[in-house]
């Protein structure tokens, strides 16, 4: 009985305020029910454009030893891991494969970095500068 009475009261209130407030009641209870300040559904206007990795639109080739040399250690010639190069998985794989290919084909040195490329800008990691 009590429940029925409560229900009747709610419905009468709804009918008085019109249809707009009905939506807010049914969705969340935290929303304040004003007609003018209704939440407008829109995309986050402060959203920043997604930044890709360094080599986002750059094609990786085994012939481009200068580019590949930027991702190896100058002292040992080892390929840096993803946590240092900060590349996405696809590009990291491509770079690693290209470096190994150029090693095998005699294009790039294995144990060190070509001295010509030592002055190139440091692209990997901050602590190496």
């Amino acid at each position: 009985m009590l429940v029925l009475r409560g229900f009747q009261r709610i419905t009468s209130v709804l009918l008085q305020q019109g249809n707009t407030s009905l939506r807010s009641l049914t969705t969340t209870s935290n929303v304040v029910q004003h007609n003018e300040d209704m939440l407008i559904k829109m995309e986050n206007p402060y959203k920043e454009p997604q930044k890709g990795c360094l080599l986002c639109n750059v094609s990786v080739d085994f012939k481009n030893t200068q580019l590949l040399s930027q991702f190896i250690s100058p002292y040992t010639g080892r390929i840096y891991g993803r946590h240092i190069t900060r590349l996405c998985s696809r590009k990291q794989k491509e770079v690693a494969k290209a470096i190994k290919k150029s090693h095998a084909m005699g294009f790039m040195s294995v144990t060190h970095k070509h001295p010509e490329f030592m002055k190139d800008p440091h692209v990997c990691g901050k602590h190496l500068e």
């Binding site: 094609s59 012939k63 005699g106 294995v110």
Partner: protein
């Protein structure tokens, strides 16, 4: 579109020697029914490491890139032939696919 790419490293020789070796290589390619599309010279440079081939230690070499269309059946015999050539330091045949801008990278 080029189907294969031959990255050829020749011994550091004088110009007539290099041209003769290149001519030989392209002729063997054409004999086996390959269509040579492009021949690029990447210059003569110091090899990244000492390469020991045909009882000789090589320090310098001239790099060439040959694009060609060919049937896949000729490749093994072609590579065998190139390995036996004294002037060739390192031959490598790669398949060439032009799928650079195929899909979105990094999801952005």
């Amino acid at each position: 579109m080029p189907r294969y790419e031959l990255a050829l490293i020749l011994k550091a020789m004088q110009r007539p020697g290099t041209s003769a070796a290149l001519r030989r290589t392209v002729e063997t390619l054409m004999e086996r029914g390959a269509v040579v599309r492009d021949l690029e010279n990447l210059g003569e440079r110091l090899l990244p490491y000492k390469i020991n081939k045909h009882n000789q230690n090589h320090l310098r070499g001239s790099y060439f890139l040959i694009d060609f269309y060919a049937a896949p059946s000729i490749l093994t015999r072609l590579l065998d032939h190139l390995h036996r050539d004294v002037d060739v330091v390192r031959p490598t045949v790669l398949k060439k696919d032009d799928q650079v801008a195929s899909s979105n990278c990094c999801g952005s």
